[in-house]
Subunit: 346 residues, 2 copies
Amino acid sequence: MSNSRVNVRWVAEQAGVSPATVSRVSRGSAQVSPELRERVMRVIEEHGYRPNHFGRALAEKRHGSLGLVFPGLSGPYFSELIQGFESEALETGDQVLLLSSHYRSDTDAKVLDLAGRVDGMAIHAGTVSEAMIERVSQTIRVVVMAHKAGPAHASVSTDSGTVGTLTRHLLVEHGYRRLAFVGTPEGSPDVTARWEAFLAAHAETGARPPAGPTLVGLAQADGAIAAQKLLDSEEEPPDAVVCANDETALGLILGALGRGMRVPEDIAVTGFDDMPMAALVQPGLTTVRQPVRELATVTARLLHAPLTQRDGDTLLTTDVVLRGSCGCPDRPSGETGRDATAGGDS
Amino acid sequence: MSNSRVNVRWVAEQAGVSPATVSRVSRGSAQVSPELRERVMRVIEEHGYRPNHFGRALAEKRHGSLGLVFPGLSGPYFSELIQGFESEALETGDQVLLLSSHYRSDTDAKVLDLAGRVDGMAIHAGTVSEAMIERVSQTIRVVVMAHKAGPAHASVSTDSGTVGTLTRHLLVEHGYRRLAFVGTPEGSPDVTARWEAFLAAHAETGARPPAGPTLVGLAQADGAIAAQKLLDSEEEPPDAVVCANDETALGLILGALGRGMRVPEDIAVTGFDDMPMAALVQPGLTTVRQPVRELATVTARLLHAPLTQRDGDTLLTTDVVLRGSCGCPDRPSGETGRDATAGGDS
DNA sequence: TTGTACGCGTTATCAA
DNA sequence: TTGATAACGCGTACAA
């Protein structure tokens, strides 16, 4: 605990004023005469007095903190998410309490615990049950991230439909015929939405989708695993792969290149996120740009200022970013850019 | 705030007992007769009573939380760090408060803020000034991560000297002659230690080191940038590159492959961390294995149980992991493994 | 075993 | 403008 001796009463005594005055000075809440103010400030600085957090919170009925619950996946996506949230929270003077569910069974208890220590809670899709979200919502403000929650809850999500646009691009513009989808819909509402958009594009264009998604996680290493599954199998490999995120796409490209295959000539690959690395690979990674940081900051703002926006979903737009990995002409980064052949190889 | 009506007094009234008894029941601190216990539990469950965090903390003089301060870099290293710390803290019932300094100027103020809300604080190397660490140490327990702090402070670090072993391996076993080092020592004590070990190995073997490190960050994209700097330059490119971490190494490999170069035949690459992806690339990434998760969990344990270990550094061992990217024979993952030529191309 | 009374540190209210 | 007093919710000596 902090300096236990130095509290309001003690400072007040030293300065020869009342505790109330010390409080007023320390938080600048009301007018105090210059003399007293000076006397108090001197004592405060001399002894490094800082108001005790509990006392203040108890009196103000306010924590000054926000909670962030996420599944515990690693990678740039969550890093960006956490940092965006954290930096926005710090902007308004709120501290951030972190809880990664990590697929544990006692997550619910931890969430309730957390709910008692924060003013608002951001919950990433796929981490907490609907029932628990409902329950927590009744005591503090909750915003669901990356998933369009029901109209009763506030949520911020990004448009997954763009995966459909991208899939149509592969099918129609490039003429690929055997597409694969890398990612696991179950337990992840955002991956589910992307998979559904992928299927919908097939249905619209009359193309035949794969029997099911290639089930791997969202880390780069999972992309390498997907490469094993798709390329080392006895079945005919796909001519284009839509990955649930950039990380797996990069892992897949790495796997393909390592096997002596060419991208996109032998196999086209697309991602989702448009993380910095996507523009730096050669060939550049065709992907869907998602405003991850905005997703985080908007969520934090919604939590801090509950007045501005009531419940309902805030949908952030996403865009297709065409680069070389789908077969489109690549804009070389640096002088060594290769010419990517436009059009498919069907 | 939580259900403001439902507090100890109210529950006590409902159950027809005293507040003290409710407290005893809710935390199982003392013996209570079965009947009263039953009555109280009924009311607690029926109305979902949860002890207010502030009241409890104020009375117990204890926060039940740990702080984690880190620079704000993204990538697998910090993800693993955060998660390891968080999972260990949850094990002991502590909540985690996050603060990413993000190279801001007002970090010191935020750190002091944080110090008033946690029982202990883990500070990653390169985030907070010595003076501030000293100051915070006087009020709560502090552990410095990834940097051997002075004997006055507790710290947990991993052995960077192994980079010297790896460098000697490149120079002596493989006979590489023009090594490069990718990473920015300044502001990052752990990168500094690796750079120094790299230099020491050159001195010991009489080899001539590069004029200076290739200054880029620690993200994968920085590896791609390093590839531009090293491979697109007019100067003769290095025949081996020691990267400050695996991420930049992978970015560099990606850049080299994208330029039509072969790894390790045209250029050897090594990393640091041994993240999952390192074993999955082809060729496999030669690197130094660092127990990142242990770094985090040991730190958390040190903070939670200040009794076990007093000040001083806890050094975790690291190991060289030889794979194909340095020129050693690679163990193929899957059937498509390529034969890597052992020995250098000097 | 149970209840009473006080302390934890701060802010808000109200009276001066 | 300032000060006294009452909350805020809980844990815990101490007394019964």
